[in-house]
């Protein structure tokens, strides 16, 4: 979230799309309803009439997989209105804080000119559903002046400026065309456009709340880009009651991502080195952006400070200037190779991976195409699973699911772990609040917290290498791993925060930190090896003043009472509760929305921690508002993604119709791993999506073992429309079967008005939905929805396409 949960109360219009917050984040409605008491309206866009829809002021149906068509049409609506009535919008925000004024390379062309692709497409593969490949992005750039600074036209009239190009791109997304693709009622759609566009007024704000309904598509990242463009046009980023707000589904998915349990990032969103970067300097040069514009903060220019401080934290005194601070202890990625979840299971299935750690995760239920992923895991030599329960993942050898257990040769080690309140440490919520948890009970039997478990394993491995030697022991033995028998969460939290390795002096020679003292700001990290921090984002979370994450002062000290709760826990970065907040003020530092200001200038900034401390834009020595962007402006033209600088509608891998916008059916930059496993729409004509229910959680191991929750929600079900029910002769309570080219799942039918057939380009299309929590262990068992989902991911992130695929529905 750019903002946070309590901030929902400051919103004028709340748009829930790609999320069922009432079901999956119920407490968010405490703050949505607080906003509504003050006159705010709630819009919900969803394929199914959910608990969120039931409480909304305005509901619009959308076929799964069509967010880009839906939002591009809203963007067109806003741009048309903005040209006719600029006084209704915050044109200062649009021209000064976004890159709408940037002049783009004249040779850049749009999908309308290239059969659905942007300029530079290079074909690498061809299957029945189209051509696939990657873009040569050499035309996806802005023009620069002699000093290397982007050329701008702040009148937004130049035909090559981002504003005019965006206008051209969305001109094809008329209300009629959009609704014929999404299946939305045109009247409802117009109301959504008009109501949401009202947040373009400088003193109004709109928020977008989204979750996996948005991300889990082959074009999921572009879905979010579309939201971001809409929010920037309306001046809704950085303001109270605004933002792009991802509703996180797990208690620490934010923290675990910040700490980068992911192949493509190192703690604090740093980059893992690649094989082509054979020296620390080569890595830093490739990873550190440069700006020629003196008014751009270009925050990532600090990359070397964060990277070297991480190396010092990990390798301690074994990281020296002479050995490039231990740079070569780090593994190097193969250039161009993807190691993400889907790629990992493809490699495992092909026999490349032989050993697997599963830390509190259950891919045998939660992964895409679980028949394939269970088969991949059955080829392992060994698996170490650390969990509270016996999950499906560590049970794939058991007689009820394995045809021949005696010939199943995988060794399984299952380690009992402590639950959340049986140990100490911090978790980070969606609003980036790092909240400390104390130990409140004992774990059962010999169960231990994971710090103890990982430390035992590493101590044992290190001892083996010490005693026996082996393949390059240095990265293991030179690691600073001095946590003792039972690591303390507090000690690790201090190490994450970072500390001075020598006395640190400021520009005037004053000692600001004595050697060993905890740092208060990542602004003090150094690239010369004199500071250590294992995650720069968390510098300030545990200082000499104590554990900031453990703070429990629940007063709101913000002068406008916008509910920042800045002394409750701690949030990154630097306890800034609403990020990009320097975009919430005009060029003199006066807030666009004085009644609910985030920051304001009164000779110094008041309110939230400002996004960079620089003075307002009209003053000397200032910096642009979007400090993380190299040019200092938010990207409406976004050349960073692999599939286009603007969003363009494509159908899912398995779409029920031809793409009505172009001849390019599917996002052409995705990796098609299993071209033979695409369900044919003639045989499998029904759109299916997966979702969750309040009473269960993710792959189910944490809730299908609790009797109270099993009693509330015992059984897997499929929701189908009354029309489809009548066609199939199915009534509520009947057992039915969903199937496609990958597998089948049985469930009980709920025949309901919550789904309605769509009319897509004049053709009737049915959609059904199934929750994905169930599996074959636990107190409540049932077929996993992921028996049906495809092993394909988003072009940028490789998140699987769980939310739109094809099935056949049968009565059994």
């Amino acid at each position: 979230m750019t903002n946070h949960w309590v901030d929902l109360k400051n919103s004028d219009i709340i748009l829930i799309i790609g999320s069922n917050a009432a079901e999956n984040h119920p407490i968010s409605f405490k703050w949505i309803n607080e906003a509504r008491k003050k006159g705010a309206k709630l819009i919900n866009v969803d394929p199914r009439f959910t608990r969120s829809s039931a409480t909304a002021d305005l509901y619009a149906r959308i076929r799964s997989g069509c967010d880009i068509a839906f939002i591009n049409g809203m963007i067109k609506w806003v741009l048309d209105d903005m040209e006719a009535h600029p006084e209704k919008y915050n044109m200062t925000y649009v021209t000064e804080y976004t890159n709408m004024s940037f002049l783009i390379d004249p040779s850049f062309t749009l999908p309308a000119d290239n059969g659905g692709k942007f300029s530079g497409f290079q074909v690498m593969d061809e299957f029945s559903i189209g051509q696939f490949g990657q873009y040569d992005k050499s035309t996806w750039k802005w023009q620069t002046d002699a000093d290397g600074i982007p050329k701008k036209d702040k009148t937004l009239k130049d035909p090559n400026c981002a504003f005019q190009l965006l206008k051209k791109q969305v001109s094809r997304y008329t209300v009629e065309k959009v609704c014929s693709v999404t299946g939305t009622d045109p009247d409802a759609y117009r109301q959504v456009c008009e109501l949401y566009a009202s947040t373009g007024a400088p003193d109004r704000s709109g928020t977008i709340m989204y979750a996996m309904g948005t991300t889990q598509h082959t074009h999921g990242t572009q879905n979010i880009r579309a939201y971001a463009i809409l929010q920037l046009l309306l001046g809704n980023i950085g303001v109270a009651g605004g933002g792009i707000n991802a509703l996180r589904g797990e208690s620490n998915v934010q923290g675990s991502t910040d700490h980068c349990l992911l192949w493509h990032i190192l703690p604090g969103y740093l980059k893992p080195p690649t094989a082509s970067q054979q020296s620390l300097q080569a890595h830093l040069d490739a990873s550190t952006p440069k700006s020629n514009d003196p008014k751009s903060a270009n925050w990532w220019q600090n990359y070397p400070k964060y990277f070297v401080s991480l190396l010092k934290s990990w390798y301690g005194e074994n990281a020296t200037a002479d050995n490039e601070f231990g740079y070569h202890f780090l593994p190097k990625l193969e250039v161009g190779r993807n190691y993400s979840h889907i790629a990992l299971f493809e490699a495992m299935h092909a026999g490349e991976i032989e050993g697997l750690f599963c830390w509190g995760t259950n891919p045998a239920v939660g992964g895409p195409n679980v028949n394939f992923e269970r088969e991949a895991m059955s080829k392992l030599k060994w698996m170490v699973a650390v969990d509270l329960w016996q999950t499906e993942t560590c049970s794939i050898w058991q007689p009820d699911v394995c045809d021949d257990p005696a010939s199943q040769q995988t060794e399984f080690f299952l380690l009992p772990a402590a639950a959340s309140y049986e140990k100490e440490g911090s978790v980070v919520n969606s609003g980036r609040w790092a909240q400390w948890r104390w130990k409140g009970a004992q774990p059962p039997g010999q169960a231990h917290h994971d710090l103890w478990i990982v430390s035992q394993i590493m101590n044992a491995v290190r001892n083996l290498y010490k005693d026996e030697g082996g393949a390059n022991p240095d990265p293991i033995l030179k690691l600073r791993w001095d946590y003792g028998y039972d690591p303390s969460a507090e000690d690790v939290a201090k190490e994450i925060n970072g500390y001075a390795l020598v006395d640190i002096v400021d520009d005037k020679g004053n000692v600001i930190y004595k050697k060993g003292e905890l740092l208060t700001s990542f602004g003090h990290l150094k690239a010369d090896g004199t500071t250590a921090s294992s995650n720069w984002l968390y510098t300030g979370s545990y200082t000499e003043a104590g554990n900031q994450m453990a703070r429990r002062d629940n007063a709101d000290y913000h002068p406008a009472g916008i509910g920042l709760y800045s002394n409750w826990s701690w949030c990154w970065p630097l306890n800034r509760r609403i990020i990009y907040n320097r975009a919430s003020v005009d060029l003199d530092g006066n807030p666009f929305a004085p009644d609910k200001f985030v920051i304001r200038w009164a000779g110094k900034w008041e309110g939230d921690v400002p996004d960079g401390g620089w003075a307002p834009m009209n003053m000397e020595g200032t910096r642009y508002a979007f400090i993380m962007k190299t040019e200092g402006h938010a990207h409406i033209f976004g050349p960073g993604l692999v599939d286009g600088p603007f969003p363009e509608h494509y159908e899912p891998l398995e779409g029920p119709v031809d793409n009505a916008f172009s001849a390019t059916q599917v996002n052409p930059t995705i990796k098609v791993w299993q071209p033979d496993e695409i369900s044919d729409r003639n045989e499998f004509p029904v759109v299916c999506t997966t979702y969750r229910v309040t009473e269960h959680w993710q792959a189910g191991q944490m809730t299908r073992n609790l009797p109270w929750l099993v009693e509330l929600m015992p059984q897997v079900f499929v929701e189908i429309s009354k029309e489809l029910g009548a066609e199939l002769g199915v009534e509520t309570g009947d057992p039915i079967k969903l199937s496609n080219v990958r597998g089948s799942a049985r469930a009980v039918a709920i025949v309901t008005n919550r789904f309605k057939p769509f009319t897509i380009e004049g053709q009737a299309v049915h959609q059904v939905g199934i929750p994905w929590h169930w599996g074959f262990t636990g107190l409540a068992q049932g077929d996993s929805a992921n028996l049906l989902t495809p092993h394909v991911g988003d072009a940028n992130t490789m998140i699987p396409e769980f939310k739109a695929f094809l099935v056949k529905v049968e009565k059994v």
Binding site: W359, G425, D450
Partner: protein, 186 residues
């Protein structure tokens, strides 16, 4: 000293949790007399990403007595959803389903065997070293230093504490792993 329950929780939150428990005792700078042998500790719900506060009440044996919403928490103000309301059952474990000792399933075996931690850790370390010694790549086909291990992968976990994540990622990268993923991807 009279301390109201709300004040007690605020104070204990900053200084010491789980007053009657060994892990909390080490931190207990301040102690207050209680009338019942039940310790109360603030926590954050382990399910979704809202981060609601809850209060764990546990007895001298370390078993949970009750978990309820934390009225002082600025997000949930004491309320919880159905999952949060079931937090107590994670520790009460009425179905006796929690894992309590390390378990091992040998190749081809039809059941688990209970094992000691010492045996289990020793065996895991040996498996890691065997695969690493066999497959560790110091250089790639072009003679470039890569120091990586592709035959072991790590998955999880988005429900871990940040401190646990920090040590897991540090350990996995140190072993040379490149296949490192968790639930954020899926």
């Amino acid at each position: 000293m009279n301390v109201s329950r709300r004040e007690f929780l605020k104070l204990s939150g900053v200084t010491a949790g789980g007053l009657l428990l060994p892990a909390g005792a080490a931190l207990a700078a301040k102690r207050f007399p209680l009338h019942k042998p039940v310790g109360e500790t603030p926590t954050i719900c382990c399910f979704c990403g809202v981060g609601c506060g809850a209060i764990v009440a546990s007895g001298p044996d370390g078993k949970v007595v009750n978990v309820e919403g934390d009225p002082d928490h600025p997000i949930n103000l004491g309320t919880l959803c159905s999952k949060g309301a079931a937090l107590a059952q994670l520790n009460l474990d009425p179905g006796n389903r929690r894992l309590k000792t390390p378990l091992y399933r040998a190749p081809g075996a039809l059941d688990w065997e209970e094992k000691s931690w010492d045996w289990t850790i020793e065996q895991i370390a040996r498996r890691i070293k065997d695969l690493r010694d066999e497959h560790f790549e110091e250089q790639d086909g072009e003679g470039r230093i890569v120091n990586r291990l592709r035959t072991i992968a790590s998955l999880g976990g988005a429900a871990h504490d940040s401190e646990e994540c920090a040590l897991i990622v540090k350990a996995m990268r140190a072993l040379g792993l490149v296949f490192i993923e968790h639930q954020a991807r899926i």
